[in-house]
């Protein structure tokens, strides 16, 4: 078993994941990153969907919203809009994000809310026991895809970059320190930040294992210019070996919260705001 350091996010609860699941590492990475950034459990909201990764909020202390399958990005966007002061981290898996929630994934990127989106990508369905996911490789055999997957795999970073997502990274849970650095940058980044996080499923994916990810990935170095959208897309489209690190950055985009403008001169969250009754009476007068 993996030894997890003590943090104030620790929760005394039985964890449902299989022994060896990549999610244990992801949990540790998140807790330690938040600790290193000095964020307290009550200062951030963890918003998740359904699937093994969707259970994240139950296994650590946080403000949490464990919503429906596929819908967590919409929940996260709404929560951030209601209180921009809240750090919002949206977590779920590849099935929840790219299949059930594909439309919300695309459109949330277009809105550019200031949230971090960690997508645990194990290229298989875990909670429903081993069917192909949108990111399963062609030829991947399951008890449903008995002759192997023939659908084109979803390429999350390439899609996100093509939509000019403001922060796009890929990471691997097996590399704790590197992933922590990426995650901390994502949290500090202003705008939507996608982390396509490889997190092996030890029960249902015997192809994309810890070793497979180690052998089939490499880290981007300083020669990569993350501000160049075309080059970033090229990197994201590489399939021989998959690049890890920050693929793309666009720091010049306005966030959703800035675009809705009500916070531009007043950061008060919605729950503290009051109706201006004088203005309302003035508005009604126009209907006389």
């Amino acid at each position: 078993m993996i030894i997890i350091s003590k943090t104030e996010f620790d929760k005394d609860i039985e964890i449902h994941w299989c022994p060896g699941c990549g999610n244990y590492l992801a949990l540790r990475i998140l807790k330690e990153s938040l600790t290193e950034l000095g964020i307290k459990p009550y200062q951030f909201a963890l918003i998740s969907g359904i699937g093994q990764a969707g259970k994240f909020p139950h296994f650590m202390k946080s403000q949490s919203f464990n919503g429906l399958h596929g819908r967590y990005l919409s929940n996260a966007l709404g929560a951030k809009a209601a209180n921009p002061g809240l750090t919002v981290i949206a977590v779920s898996g590849d099935g929840c994000t790219f299949s059930e929630g594909g439309n919300h994934f695309l459109h949330t990127i277009r809105y550019n809310p200031d949230i971090v989106n960690i997508v645990h990508n194990n290229q298989v369905y875990g909670l429903t026991k081993g069917q192909a996911s949108a990111t399963s490789q062609i030829g991947f055999i399951t008890k449903v895809q008995i002759k192997g997957v023939y659908n084109q795999p979803f390429n999350p970073p390439a899609i996100a970059i093509s939509l000019d997502a403001s922060f796009v990274a890929r990471a691997f849970v097996g590399d704790i320190e590197q992933t922590k650095e990426i995650l901390k940058k994502a949290i500090k980044h202003k705008g939507y930040a996608l982390i396509d996080l490889f997190s092996p499923c030890v029960s249902f994916n015997r192809v994309n294992t810890y070793d497979w990810y180690k052998q089939n990935t490499y880290y981007l170095d300083d020669s990569h210019d993350p501000y160049d959208q075309n080059k970033a897309i090229q990197k994201a489209l590489e399939t021989k070996k998959l690049p890890l690190g920050i693929l793309y950055l666009n720091p010049n985009k306005k966030t959703y919260e800035e675009n809705v403008t009500i916070y531009n001169n007043d950061s008060t969250p919605l729950y503290k705001r009051e109706l201006d009754k004088v203005k309302f009476n003035e508005l009604l007068e126009k209907f006389r």
């Binding site: 609860i13 307290k40 459990p41 009550y42 200062q43 909201a45 918003i47 359904i50 259970k55 909020p57 139950h58 202390k61 946080s62 403000q63 949490s64 919203f65 464990n66 919503g67 429906l68 819908r71 919409s74 929940n75 996260a76 966007l77 709404g78 929560a79 951030k80 809009a81 209601a82 209180n83 002061g85 809240l86 439309n103 919300h104 695309l106 459109h107 809705v260 403008t261 009500i262 007043d266 969250p269 919605l270 729950y271 503290k272 705001r273 009051e274 109706l275 201006d276 203005k279 309302f280 009476n281 508005l283 009604l284 209907f287 006389r288």
Partner: protein, 574 residues
């Protein structure tokens, strides 16, 4: 002297009928007349055939009548479109080629070459304004009042345009005056004025709901455009910013409700607006609201289905959908405004109720009410309160704490140092996933306790009539004034009316009303009697007669009168 006239403008989409409707109703109200207007239109942007019906009266009128006193056809199809409503009393005014159609119809037809006169003034575009002037001339409206309305309406277009429009209206006015003076018109259109109405509000259903939402403190509004509710979102997008309201046009109705619930979790007063089809996509989100006990107000503007149905027409077909939407059992409240005042007040209070009880609250209305308007004296908005139920949280806070009432203290992330957890699974008091059967039972019972509470808080139906009634007419939602006016015409002591503006849960006195009646008659706009079935379920009493309308068009007062007359005469057949 008559009490009530009905003016109909009929033509294609894009011909400016709505502009005339809006100018005419405002001018008439400012002249001391009561007005009511409703429109029926096709689901297309240009062409087709649409009409608006405007009732002008010395006393309040608030329901659709099929009668036509003045008809202004704006194209060749117009007369055919409304011919069943034309009587010997009707006067048709307009271009020769339009009034010549349907020559078998016998009534007064007066040729007015609107287009030619308009061209003399500066362009075809003024034809409608000339027609407006004619109607104002017949009713002997103060011309200054008309000029003011035109100036207000064309304010953004500059003085030249305002002057041309005034000129066009004056020409129309003169035409009417000359027709009267030269005895070219058989009827007079004189009504008693009531100068109190000048200060009345003039609102349609969409404005009433949108204003109710603002008055209720709505601050996160999301929607996907869908007739007939789109206008509510548009109104809020245009006026909301000055009230710090975030208005979002979302990618689909699934995200609409999920964003609204995410915002609600973080403390927003969330409002979503849709119609039956869009609401179908929201059903899992409604279930999420039920499980998470998150406040949300949902507007469903009904139109005829199934599927795309008739997008711009009216129905009361989605009561059962709204009543049962979402997996699993959870309580909800459903309001169905009968009047513009209701639309405003019920929407306003929905935002308080949804926070107080932490249940989804629905405003269930329809195209007819959304697209109808009339003058009203008061919205009683000074009395309205915005109630907030948030408590500050601390380390011991539990979002789903079991309480005597079933309601757990509501808090939001960031309001204190505790943790606010919301979960779509069956959850513990802390909000953690559980499959423990004892906790499961307690959570189900918690939701049932809330149902008991909201039952006690249910609004009583409005009863109109004598206590010793024999016939009880039951209606809900937007049919209120239609039924009321039909019954006033019928004028029988033994017929009473029970109207519901809250259709779920029902008030406990319903049983008594229903059981006292010798005959119960429900009136609603769907093919199966959805509300009748609900009444039967709640009162264990069979409804005797269902008067059902599933044409996609609203009942007229006259049609209802005929049906109700047959009911009391004992020969009502479906």
């Amino acid at each position: 002297m008559d009490n009530d006239f009905s003016v109909i403008l009929c033509g294609a989409a894009g011909q400016g009928i709505q502009t005339v409707e809006s100018l005419l109703t405002r001018t008439l109200k400012k002249s001391g007349f009561n007005v009511f207007a409703t429109r029926e239109y096709m689901s297309r942007v240009r062409g087709g055939i649409n009409s608006t019906s405007i009732r002008i009266s010395s006393k309040p009128v608030r329901a659709y009548s099929e009668r036509i006193d003045i008809l202004i056809p704006l194209n060749e199809e117009a007369i055919s479109h409304v011919k069943d409503r034309i009587s010997a009393q009707t006067i048709i005014l307009g271009e020769r080629q339009f009034i010549q159609t349907n020559s078998e119809i016998e009534c007064e037809k007066i040729e007015i070459p609107f287009e030619q006169i308009a061209k003399e003034i500066g362009g075809k575009i003024f034809a409608n304004i000339i027609a407006l002037g004619v109607i104002c001339g017949f009713l002997n409206v103060n011309q200054n009042t008309l000029h003011k309305a035109l100036a207000e309406s064309f304010k953004s277009k500059g003085q030249v345009i305002i002057d041309e429009n005034i000129k066009a209206a004056n020409r129309g006015f003169e035409i009417a005056v000359n027709l009267i003076r030269n005895n070219k018109i058989k009827r007079e259109f004189l009504l008693k004025r009531n100068f109190d109405v000048i200060n009345d509000y003039l609102l349609d259903g969409r404005e009433a709901v949108a204003l109710g939402a603002i008055a209720g403190g709505a601050n996160y509004v999301t929607f996907y455009p869908m007739a007939p509710s789109t206008g509510v979102g548009t109104f809020l997008a245009q006026r909301g910013l000055e009230f710090s309201i975030i208005v979002d046009q979302s990618e689909d109705e699934i995200s609409v409700i999920n964003k609204a619930l995410g915002a609600s979790y973080a403390g927003a007063r969330s409002f979503v607006s849709t119609s039956g089809g869009g609401f179908s996509l929201m059903c899992e989100g409604v279930s999420l609201a039920g499980m998470m006990e998150l406040p949300i107000v949902i507007l469903v503007g009904q139109r005829p289905g199934p599927a795309t149905g008739m997008p711009t027409r009216t129905a009361q077909e989605d009561l059962e959908l709204v009543l049962y939407a979402g997996a699993g059992y959870f309580p909800r409240m459903i309001f169905a405004p009968g009047t513009i005042e209701d639309a405003f007040k019920l929407t306003q209070n929905a935002f308080n109720l949804t926070q107080e009880y932490q249940v989804p609250v629905f405003i269930l209305t329809d195209q007819y009410l959304i697209d109808s308007y009339y003058n009203i004296t008061s919205l009683e908005h000074e009395k309205l309160e915005i109630k907030k139920y948030f408590v500050q949280n601390d380390e011991n806070y539990e979002r789903y704490r079991f309480t005597e009432s079933g309601i757990s203290p509501l808090s939001v992330p960031g309001y204190g140092t505790g943790l606010v957890d919301a979960d779509s699974h069956t959850h513990t008091e802390e909000g953690d996933i559980t499959e423990d059967p004892i906790i499961r039972k307690k959570t189900v019972e918690k939701r049932f306790k809330k149902l008991e509470l909201i039952k006690k808080a249910a609004l009583p139906p409005e009863f109109i009539g004598n206590d010793d009634y024999e016939y009880l007419i039951i209606g809900w939602g937007s049919n209120y004034y239609l039924i009321k006016e039909a019954l006033e015409e019928l004028n029988l002591d033994n017929v009473a009316f029970l109207h519901f503006k809250q259709v779920y849960p029902l008030h406990s006195n319903v049983k008594e009303y229903v059981r006292k009646a010798k005959k119960t008659i429900t009136i609603e706009n769907n093919p199966t009697g959805q509300f009748a079935k609900l009444i039967e379920l709640e009162t264990h009493t069979e409804i005797d007669i269902n008067i059902l309308n599933y044409s996609g068009y609203v009942f007229s007062v006259e049609e209802l009168y005929q049906k109700l007359k047959k009911v009391v005469e004992g020969d009502y057949n479906k």
